[in-house]
């Protein structure tokens, strides 16, 4: 469950992050404040608390969510907020003059964002986002606390049967390490393939 949990949550998080970052970058009134509030709340509270609120808290007001979707929900929202900040910073790092140049050749704001600014921003944001993905692989172990049988929960169950905590917890640690090593390699390949526009 660790891999699907990470992949699905991260994919949704990227969508949330790009939208949240663009809303702030474009300074759309109303939505911009909403985006800021969202980032403020999510970044200011522990992930574990968010998981508990959604899984154990919401049933109090009649909202029951199964463990896996609850975990996906919380991880996407959490990661979305962090990555939104990364992408917003990357958008702002793209030299502004290009937007004026885009206007002057008759492009609309959306065309400029989509074709000129966002591709450059995502290129800038790629290394920090890869970093977030790697962090997220490990954070998914927290989902064990809301009964999602991901890798860590599975290990705990085996430990309960075999009484071999040291060996088993080291083993699960090594598996996380392997996942992250693969991702690090993928990041390198990705950075190469994305190119640097001639730099």
């Amino acid at each position: 469950m660790t891999i699907p949990l990470t992949v699905i949550s991260f994919a949704i998080a990227m969508v949330i992050a790009v939208v949240t970052a663009l809303v702030q970058f474009a300074g759309i009134r109303g939505l911009k404040e909403l985006a800021r509030f969202y980032v403020w709340v999510v970044r200011g509270t522990p992930l574990l608390v968010q998981l508990f609120v959604v899984f154990y808290g919401l049933p109090n007001i009649g909202i029951l969510i199964d463990p896996f979707p609850a975990a996906v929900l919380v991880f996407s929202i959490n990661e979305g907020a962090y990555s939104a900040e990364t992408i917003r910073a990357a958008l702002e790092a793209v030299p502004r003059g290009q937007m004026e140049a885009g206007e002057c050749v008759g492009m609309t704001y959306l065309q400029i964002i989509r074709r000129i600014v966002l591709p450059q921003a995502l290129r800038i944001a790629f290394p920090p986002l890869s970093n977030s993905l790697i962090a997220m692989v490990k954070d998914t172990s927290l989902a064990a606390n809301i009964t999602v049988t991901e890798m860590f929960m599975a290990t705990q169950r085996i430990v309960a049967r075999t009484y071999e905590p040291l060996a088993l917890y080291i083993e699960v640690g090594i598996i996380y390490l392997i996942f992250c090593t693969v991702l690090t390699k993928l990041q390198r390949v990705g950075e190469k393939r994305l190119g640097t526009y001639g730099r």
């Binding site: 793209v94 030299p95 003059g97 290009q98 004026e100 140049a101 885009g102 206007e103 002057c104 050749v105 008759g106 492009m107 609309t108 065309q111 074709r115 000129i116 591709p119 450059q120 290129r123 526009y197 001639g198 730099r199």
Partner: protein
């Protein structure tokens, strides 16, 4: 005034603390090359940016190609229409960094004008060869020198077959040895009959290429004259002062 292409009336603009441009007026005939001179802080760049809608003026109107525009609250449609008929060259080139030289020239044609990629690229290559960069089509801006980047920017501004091109200090960010290549492209453009409004510090260009000089200070026109006359027999005391300072530096 049948050849009147651009006429600016009553342009004013202030930024917070003070007036940058006061009741500025200008008229440009078709084929005119006009150099805007003046000390820094005179409002030259701001004027150019207001006239091309990169900045909103506090007041003022403009007639361009027979159509009247508000400089303070233009409609989006008006701005787009104006952009289709004009080009703008920036001091810092502002090339699209994720596009090649050719991509920079074709971007507007493909996206804003819905030209087919093939036609756009054909036209793009032709424009790049006009600025002497036919062999740099596949280079990214980061692989080009400042002078080459600015020439790409000029090709990009020419792509839409504009009636007029605005230049905002096009050589100010360049190393001295690179200004020549940009100026010679501009000179060629002027000889081909392009209407140009050029904010510049290049006295040689103002004197030898432009038809008329507008000398600005503190947001107002101090003196406006045909280039030859402006340099040989300026009327205003302030103009003479400015010219002698400049000439002594060189």
């Amino acid at each position: 005034m049948a050849d009147d292409l651009l006429r600016v009336n009553g342009l004013s603009k202030s930024f917070g603390n003070g007036m940058v441009i006061q009741d500025f007026g200008l008229s440009v005939d078709k084929g005119d090359v006009i150099a805007i001179l003046g000390p820094s802080g005179a409002g030259k760049t701001t004027m150019l940016r207001c006239v091309s809608f990169l900045e909103r003026a506090d007041s003022g109107t403009m007639i361009f190609d027979g159509k009247e525009y508000s400089l303070s609250s233009p409609s989006r449609h008006d701005v787009l229409e104006f952009r289709k008929k004009t080009g703008f060259v920036f001091q810092n080139y502002n090339l699209f960094l994720n596009r090649t030289a050719l991509g920079n020239v074709t971007e507007g044609l493909i996206v804003a004008r819905k030209m087919s990629r093939k036609d756009a690229e054909e036209k793009g290559m032709e424009l790049l060869s006009r600025v002497g960069l036919q062999d740099k089509g596949n280079s990214y801006p980061s692989e080009l020198s400042g002078g080459q980047q600015q020439r790409v920017a000029i090709a990009r501004a020419m792509a839409s077959d504009p009636l007029m091109i605005f230049f905002d200090e096009p050589t100010s960010a360049l190393d001295p040895e690179l200004t020549g290549e940009v100026l010679s492209v501009m000179r060629k453009l002027a000889e081909d009959g392009m209407t140009m409004l050029v904010v510049t510090h290049e006295m040689g260009f103002a004197r030898n290429v432009s038809d008329r000089v507008v000398f600005m200070e503190e947001g107002k026109v101090v003196e406006e004259a045909p280039s030859e006359k402006f340099f040989s027999s300026p009327e205003k005391e302030r103009t003479r002062e400015f010219l002698s300072t400049i000439m002594n530096q060189n």
